[in-house]
Amino acid sequence: MTSTVGELGYREICSLLRSDQGLRLKTGPFGNRIRSALPQVAQAVANLYGNYPLLQKDDFIDFDVGVSRPSGLRRWWQPQVSFQLDGNAPFNPLPGDQGFPLLEWGLNWCVYGMCHQYLILHAAVLERGGRALILPAPSGSGKSTLCAALLFNGWRLLSDELALLDPVSGQCIANPRPVSLKNESITVIGELVSDIEFGSRVHETSKGTVAHFAAPKAAVDSASSPAWPAWIVLPRWQAGSALKLQPLDKARTLMHLVENAFNYDVYGAEGFELLSQVVTRSACFSFEYSDLGEAIACFSKLSHQAGDGLASSSLGWSTSG
């Protein structure tokens, strides 16, 4: 009975985005109300949010966001785009036509800045067989490219950017949204997945070219299913390197999670306990790769092993001989 954004059609999507009502849709556990009069934003939203459930006017909204051109003379000379939450602009505007990446970035900020009901890691999270693979890593580690490859090869996307840990259950909560890739990764994934469609491609951002593709329909449809942490893998792409998956000791892994946690300071001692439990129950590895095909096969093999932290020492292997 719940209808999706895609069923509205492009015209109505544009019209809702321009209206005071806004386009109301659900992403993971969050209700969003999105407003924007910018054509590039409307186009990207229509391309990338088609599978997401629509919300009714009376449904709960977590984030009331918008992207617009700030008023004033800049509208005509070197125009900018500005992100709003609850009608206020918390940041300085960005130059040019980066409206859609700004919306995505703003929505991420809303989650990691304000949703301390979860302990949030800077990590990609994927699921297979009810178990979660967590890839904690800062930008530039190859995590996004690896995540993109895996979600087309047997793994369900929970998030490409933000791992939401529920402190009560210890599970990872799904929050799949459009997946972003930068620069060379766009080419690499484009070659790997022949029929991939990038619903938005923006050049000249501070990070170069940023493109987004839609989260698979199956991932969006399963967004209410959490997953139990089972594997923590620290990825590193290194040109020309042989594939290496090596067990990582629990203490090092814990430190790594703490370093990649957005709101560890808000959680304090409870955060330490929660992350310790996640590390204890998970098989922990460091991972180096250069070839995506090999990487996909490696993780596929991993998923067939028991995701039991105690047996982690027997799970490491490499292709170097």
């Binding site: 449904d59 709960f60 009331d64 808000v266």
Partner: protein, 376 residues
């Protein structure tokens, strides 16, 4: 044709804070609106605390998502309180050799003293006040213990030290916490001059600390009122007014409090902020204030036209956000009120010539580091 009945105004944040029981009948859309108001006004922690206090934070009628935001706010609030207590201990330790009282102000004071105004209060800086003749010593002791001034520009450094009531903010190198060191509660250039010696004289020592004090109840209330009603930055106005409500309710359990407050306001030259504050407290938060006090105060205000203008301005400042679909920040009346307050705030804190010079320097960007000051 008969007019349709007016629908009752939507229950907003202020109503729920005054009557938490109203939360039982709210629908999801009303909760969304309250979440927005609470975020915008910095009162989400206070709302969460209030509902928790009434055993209402896990209401069956409250959407799970909203409950998540309330839990989030309680978590942040708890973490910040622990941090404030830690910072207070570090400051007490750092200033151990300072032979003078160190008065904690504002949010940190509420937390360390365990006052009701600490409830759900989130804040980013710790504020302290030390006597002016100990300021240099305090600054060097703090520097020895890891706090550094955050102000780079020479103009701003001089502006602070010459005219302001506080040093430029200091930040701890390792903990990254921010500390504001005051020596009086209003700048030297302000039109009102509450003498800091009077406030130090009645400051109350905090048990379990070496040097830490808080202001006496009347002074704490008057300081908070002055801070709110003389300020130009109204981003936390409703929250500050809520703090005042909680402080007033707590301190006025003592029967002698209201007459003491009136007397003290006159001693400290702070009658005008009191004139502004008490009617607003009564109007917005229904703070129980004796009628006699309000009547006595009404004769002490500015001239009628100014008084009316100020009342209108405060109505805009403390207005709850409008229902979804209209944006409070866009309305011309609130914009006009904010502009008037910006100018007024500066007017109250600086004589005209200094104000013109200061605003022109700011406008021309000449205060940024590396630029010379204009010959004036």
């Amino acid at each position: 044709m008969s007019n349709p009945e007016q629908p009752p105004p939507p229950v907003g944040l202020v109503q729920v804070l005054k009557q938490p029981g109203l939360a039982l009948s709210l629908k999801a859309a009303a909760w969304s609106h309250i979440l927005q108001e609470a975020r915008a006004t910095g009162l989400l922690g206070r709302l969460a605390h209030r509902l928790q206090g009434e055993g209402l934070e896990a209401l069956a009628t409250c959407p799970a998502a909203m409950q998540g935001h309330l839990r989030s706010a309680l978590r942040v609030h708890r973490a910040q309180h622990e941090e404030a207590l830690r910072e207070a201990r570090y400051i007490d330790l750092a200033l151990a050799q300072l032979d003078a009282p160190v008065v904690l102000l504002k949010g940190a004071a509420y937390v360390v003293a365990g006052l009701p105004a600490a409830a759900g209060r989130v804040f980013s800086d710790v504020d302290i006040m030390v006597p002016k003749d100990r300021l240099a010593q305090a600054e060097s002791l703090l520097a020895m213990h890891g706090w550094m001034s955050t102000e780079q520009s020479a103009y701003n450094q001089r502006y602070y030290r010459q005219w302001m009531h506080e040093l430029p903010p200091m930040q701890h190198l390792q903990r990254m916490t921010v500390l504001d060191v005051h020596h009086r509660i209003l700048p030297l250039t302000a039109r009102m001059q509450p003498h800091p010696e009077l406030m130090f004289a009645t400051a109350v020592p905090l048990p379990g600390t070496r040097h830490l004090h808080i202001l006496s109840p009347t002074d704490m209330l008057l300081h908070s009122m002055t801070h709110l009603f003389v300020n130009d930055d109204m981003s936390h106005a409703l929250r500050d007014l809520s703090d005042l409500d909680l402080l007033a309710r707590h301190f006025s359990r003592d029967e002698g409090f209201w007459p003491q407050l009136m007397t003290r306001a006159q001693e400290l030259d702070l009658v005008r902020p009191l004139w502004h504050a008490l009617p607003e407290l009564h109007r917005v938060w229904r703070t129980p204030i004796p009628t006699a006090v309000l009547q006595q105060l009404s004769a002490l205000g500015p001239r009628r036209p100014v008084a009316a203008a100020m009342r209108w301005i405060w109505r805009q400042v403390f207005a709850p956000t409008r229902p979804p679909g209209t944006r409070h920040a866009d309305s011309w009346s609130s914009a006009a009120a904010m502009a008037a307050l910006y100018l007024r705030g500066h007017w109250l804190r600086m004589p005209p010539m200094l104000l013109v010079r200061h605003l022109s320097i700011k406008a021309l960007g000449l205060h940024r580091s590396g630029t010379k000051q204009p010959p004036l």
